[in-house]
Point group: C2
Chain length 237, copies 2
């Protein structure tokens, strides 16, 4: 189901046979270029990739530090030379997810017919990513909630957060009304997150089918909420 999901990620993960031996060798062979590789190869990278692979293949409950080490072909204690503890490793996996999500959002935004549609396309891309990598998305959000903030690189050029801010302005918001800008951005983010986590619920199945599939369903949901229609600040009195 989520197999076709991360074609982009898959290339990155490609050629990773289960045992670490081959992986180690490959990494150490291409070593001399960057000056990065260490004793074992770039283990820290390998661990993150192994973590993601386990997440996709066997689900979040199987994602133990020991399993990751096993998959990477090292002892259970090895990761501790690259990450303070398990949660730091998981953070690294999550961060990669956020980066990919940013790229996906950028693509969605770029494919919009006009600036006013961009926000919806962004939302669709966001939800679509979350639905195709559910375990990863949960991990990402878990990490964010734990530290009670968005990932640090949210300010980066290709981050989803940035895309949203720009799209809102392009859609006609007044960039000088900081408060309204922030509200729009936050509201969009909250909404799209809710949809991402609930779109798979089974009680919505009939409606999904009536609308012709999950993507139309998501579109309808986002449109219905008027995700970024500019509107008076207080619709009720």
């Amino acid at each position: 189901m989520s197999e076709a999901a991360s074609a982009t990620a898959r290339t990155a993960l490609q050629g990773a046979p289960s045992k670490g031996a081959a992986l180690q060798k490959d990494l150490s062979v291409e070593g001399p270029c960057g000056g990065r590789p260490y004793h074992h190869g770039d283990l820290s990278r390998a661990l993150v990739m192994a973590g993601r692979r386990i997440l996709e293949a066997e689900g979040p409950t199987a994602l133990s530090l020991r399993a990751v080490a096993r998959e990477a072909g090292v002892s259970p204690a090895a990761p501790y030379h690259h990450f303070k503890d398990k949660s730091e490793l998981l953070d690294a996996v999550a961060e990669e997810g956020w980066r990919e999500l940013g790229v996906a959002i950028g693509k969605g935004r770029g494919g919009a017919a006009n600036p006013k549609m961009a926000m919806i396309e962004i939302g669709v891309a966001y939800v679509s990513f979350a639905r195709q990598n559910p375990a990863l998305y949960r991990l990402m959000y878990h990490a964010a909630c734990d530290r009670e903030m968005m990932p640090d690189h949210a300010k980066d050029a290709d981050s989803g957060w940035r895309h949203v801010a720009e799209a809102i302005i392009e859609a006609g918001a007044d960039p000088n009304d900081e408060q309204d800008m922030a509200l729009a951005q936050i509201a969009a983010w909250c909404n799209v997150h809710g949809v991402a986590e609930m779109a798979g619920f089974k009680e919505f199945e009939p409606l999904k089918e009536a609308l012709g599939g999950e993507e139309p369903f998501v579109r309808a949901l986002l449109s219905h909420v008027g995700i970024f229609a500019r509107r008076p600040k207080t619709p009720y009195e």
Copy 2:
């Protein structure tokens, strides 16, 4: 010894603030009262309460089956006579949470100035509950996501789900347009969930302060999204 343990448990719970005051039953030595009590007393109830207490006091990572049993004063294997496994116990804790949330939502709805305001009040009550019981809320949602559906009792009279449906109709929606009804209900739920999980993020702090606190912030967010304003189905073309 079971008596003593459950006594400590009870006093500990009474120390806990906020809700659940009415919830705790009299587990004291009342032999032939309800026909329910068993060997130990109502252990299954006691376990759920212990679970909740640990969740609030020490966070989700401390919430182990063994810790719950310890807190309830029984052996680590005792819970297995009442719950199939750990996750079933957690489900029971979550279910209690959903019930409380339903009540909170009902109160919010009842306190609304007029039918059109009811939806916002519901949203505020929802987010407020989630923010006051963050660990419990996460647990609730985790359980729902795992089974990919809302809790079973969502159809009950005092469930939040029901309240939302009724409030939407009272606000003027056409109850015969099933599709639109469902969309409104789902969109509301998604949005409010997103706000609930993100309202605590630190990057929103300045905006919160500018708006005068967290509740105004939440109100602004919900209003901005036009959470339940009736609107044309496709705001963009």
